[in-house]
């Protein structure tokens, strides 16, 4: 179910309507800006941030870029995209190195933002690069929080320092550090209790922990689905603690990322990681351009490409891209890609990343299962090599034969062929777009 029309769709619509009447005026730009404003507010971008953002945008749009453009919608989308990236930060941020080891990462945030889970995710992430992490259970308030961290620690085989729930979290963190120094653990990841930013006593406790252990990073863990209050939360945590980085969690849902944009814009604190799933390896570095695409509703092609790249080599990708953009991509290539896709992850997750498809496909989501892969495979396997290369030769008789051979019905064969044609069309469009420079020139897009 697509709740919100995507911003890029809306801009296309607005400008499409406008461009039919010929010259664009300042009023037309204003109308488009209203659309941008609305879309951002619906994406939960903070209203103050929206105001500033739209003002900056309007200025640029009136700076003739859009007015003079032959494709005003595309130009406008391009500008919005650039401005979004400007706010989100244009570089990929990594964790700071400590002056002297161990590196201490202190996780703070509201209740339910995902601190404990992300402490474990960080531990795995850092261990992958050969580190020897220690988790510290300093949440003595939430029932069973210590057990939760212990269980996670066991699951990922990372030791957890804990002293139960009767000691002060300040002392626990302090002694954990001594423990880590003695045994050579590095980094030390401190999980603190969730708290409201207006709870002065508990906020002071965080300040005390910080002053005692002098962390290398204070990471604010924030829920991507937070509404207008995200800014208030982040501002207060930042004021009190001088937060050094953000972890945006639950980014695997369909939140539009307004909270991320707002927090970044208001505090200037860089987003360092995003949490993208329940599995403990679902932690990714933050790429501003991807979130910009998500806010615009243009899908997340880049993440998709990255996953595809893991499954394919550069040359192969180049070859395919050329074929695709020229409309030469055939069912044989498709089958080959399908088999790679299977390795990339669940189908529904991938579909969400494809521009323009997310919304429509989500509607059909319930019916799309990974079983469908098998059916598609079976159908293609039942084709002759010639049919795979030139699906247009498939007529009624061939279709019946393919259906019989694959154990599917002719309608399904038809559907696959229709979808494939649609896909080919989209690909050639991409090809044209990339020539115009709307997409990165080299797009190792592999299906």
């Amino acid at each position: 179910m697509e709740m919100f029309e995507s911003l890029s769709d809306r801009l296309n619509e607005t400008f499409g309507r406008l461009s039919r009447k010929g010259r664009l005026t300042e009023q037309d730009v204003d109308e488009a800006m209203r659309e941008v404003r609305r879309a951002l507010l619906e994406a939960d971008v903070n209203f103050k941030v929206v105001k500033d953002f739209v003002a900056a945008l309007r200025e640029r749009a009136l700076g003739q870029d859009v007015l003079r453009s032959l494709t005003p919608a595309q130009t406008a989308i391009g500008i919005v995209n650039e401005e979004l990236i400007k706010v989100l930060g244009s570089t990929v941020e990594t964790l700071r190195a400590p002056d002297r080891p161990p590196q201490i990462l202190m996780l703070v945030g509201l209740q339910g933002s995902g601190k404990t889970t992300h402490a474990a995710k960080l531990a795995i992430h850092l261990r992958k690069s050969g580190r020897n992490p220690l988790l510290v259970a300093a949440d003595v308030y939430r029932p069973a929080a210590v057990n939760q961290l212990q269980a996670l620690g066991r699951q990922v085989n990372v030791p957890v320092y804990e002293e139960g729930i009767d000691k002060s979290p300040i002392d626990i963190a302090d002694r954990a550090l001594t423990f880590a120094r003695e045994r050579g653990f590095n980094p030390v990841i401190v999980d603190t209790a969730g708290r409201l930013q207006i709870d002065d006593r508990l906020m002071q406790e965080l300040v005390d922990i910080r002053d005692r252990i002098d962390p290398t990073e204070i990471l604010l863990v924030a829920d991507a689905m937070t509404g207008q209050e995200a800014v208030g939360v982040a501002e207060t945590f930042h004021e009190r603690l001088d937060v050094s980085g953000l972890i945006l969690t639950k980014m695997d849902g369909d939140a539009r990322g307004g909270a991320a944009l707002s927090i970044r814009a208001v505090t200037g604190v860089p987003i360092k990681f995003i949490g993208t799933g329940e599995k403990l390896d679902a932690l990714e570095p933050f790429y501003p351009e991807r979130l910009a695409g998500r806010i615009l509703g243009m899908g997340d092609v880049l993440s998709l490409i990255e996953r595809a790249q893991e499954q394919t080599d550069e040359q192969e990708a180049q070859r395919l891209q050329t074929r695709m953009f020229k409309g030469q991509f055939n069912l044989e290539d498709f089958l080959e890609q399908l088999q790679k896709i299977k390795k990339m992850g669940p189908l529904t997750q991938l579909l969400d990343m494809i521009p323009g498809l997310g919304g429509q496909m989500r509607q059909a989501n319930a019916q799309i299962s990974d079983d469908d892969y098998k059916h598609i495979e079976a159908i293609i396997y039942s084709m002759t090599p010639d049919e795979r290369r030139r699906p247009e030769i498939i007529g009624n008789r061939r279709r019946k034969r393919i259906a019989r051979g694959s154990g599917r019905n002719p309608a399904e064969v038809n559907q696959l062929l229709a979808q494939f044609r649609e896909m080919q069309k989209m690909m050639t469009q991409f090809g044209k777009m990339s020539k115009k420079g709307r997409l990165p020139a080299k797009l190792p897009f592999d299906f």
Partner: protein
């Protein structure tokens, strides 16, 4: 109608709600009140009002509608004083919330048949704490409560529920982490029957509404419950975090689509949560919001009432009741 109101008032822990919501009165709400201290009802006032509503997470669409309703009533009723307009706005906001609460079904508690509440929601909204509150709430009415630890996914979710069970002196039916939630529910249903519990509250693992196979699992749980009690779960409670933005509506819609939500609870309405999402939910879904959670104590739960909600959150006059 009047009678039932009287009855409800007496039997419900009203004070809690007042006190809980009192904590939430913050800038936005005093600003709305202050807005109408102005001398003229002009465009600027309406613009500012729209901004304030959006700031409270009411959402673009509903904010537009509220401002529109206000303007047309101001015009048709020839209202000139801002203070009167403020009353109109208040009425409209209450009316919007009442749209949903009028669909609230009367809960029927039968002796010998457990009343099953299945609690669902995305990760981190406060399901487990809300369950504890709900248990304490029923206890105040003298009902015997049992809990089922159906969240077998999150590490230590079972322990967390067990801690609450101990604090409230309520039995908790639990298996190991990683166990089949269906099996937990099956056992819990049997236990609830055997021990003649009035209420069985079933915890479920937090799930993002976009994960379709997890959503399907909820349907399975329902089927298992119905083997024991025909109309179980009599209550399917969706917990929404009050700080959630417009995604809260998407969540509510998708959960409704897969498990037929009967009631909504807005949790974490303490601190600075705006709670404006209630309006979108009421307008778009019509699913009644039945409870609100306001703090971390088991007693921090109250029944939702549109008037109190609007007054406390938006006009800072909650103690008028």
């Amino acid at each position: 109608m009047v009678l039932s109101r009287l009855f409800r008032r007496r039997s419900e822990p009203d004070l809690q709600l007042e006190q809980g919501l009192a904590k939430t009165r913050r800038a936005v709400f005093t600003e709305i009140t202050r807005l109408f201290d102005r001398t003229t009802l002009d465009q600027e006032l309406y613009d500012d009002l729209e901004m304030l509503l959006i700031q409270a997470d009411v959402g673009w669409d509903v904010s537009q509608r509220l401002v529109h309703e206000l303007r047309s009533r101001v015009a048709s009723e020839r209202i000139e004083q801002p203070a009167l307009a403020r009353e109109v706005l208040r009425e409209e906001m209450i009316r919007l919330l009442e749209l949903a609460s009028q669909h609230r079904k009367v809960k029927i508690f039968q002796r010998g048949v457990p009343f099953v509440t299945m609690v669902v929601g995305v990760n981190g909204v406060g399901k487990t704490t809300s369950i504890a509150k709900l248990a304490a709430y029923h206890q105040r009415f003298g009902r015997t409560v049992m809990l089922a630890a159906g969240d077998t996914f999150r590490a230590a979710a079972i322990d967390q529920l067990a801690v609450w069970g101990e604090r409230l002196d309520v039995p908790v039916i639990a298996h190991q982490q990683g166990a089949d939630p269906g099996a937990v529910v099956f056992d819990a249903m049997q236990a609830a029957h055997a021990r003649a519990a009035d209420i069985l509250i079933v915890d479920t693992a937090g799930r993002l509404h976009t994960k379709h196979n997890l959503m399907a699992e909820l349907t399975k749980l329902r089927t298992i419950m119905q083997r024991h009690v025909d109309d179980a779960p009599q209550e399917v409670l969706l917990v929404i975090d009050a700080t959630t933005g417009q995604n809260g509506l998407v969540q509510a819609k998708q959960f409704s689509d897969s498990v037929a939500i009967t009631d909504i609870m807005i949790a974490k309405l303490d601190g600075t949560a705006k709670g404006g999402i209630a309006f979108s939910v009421a307008k778009e879904l019509g699913t009644p919001i039945s409870y609100i959670g306001t703090g971390e104590k088991a007693t921090d739960l109250a029944e939702f009432r549109p008037e109190t909600y609007v007054d406390s959150l938006f006009f800072g006059t909650g103690d008028e009741l």
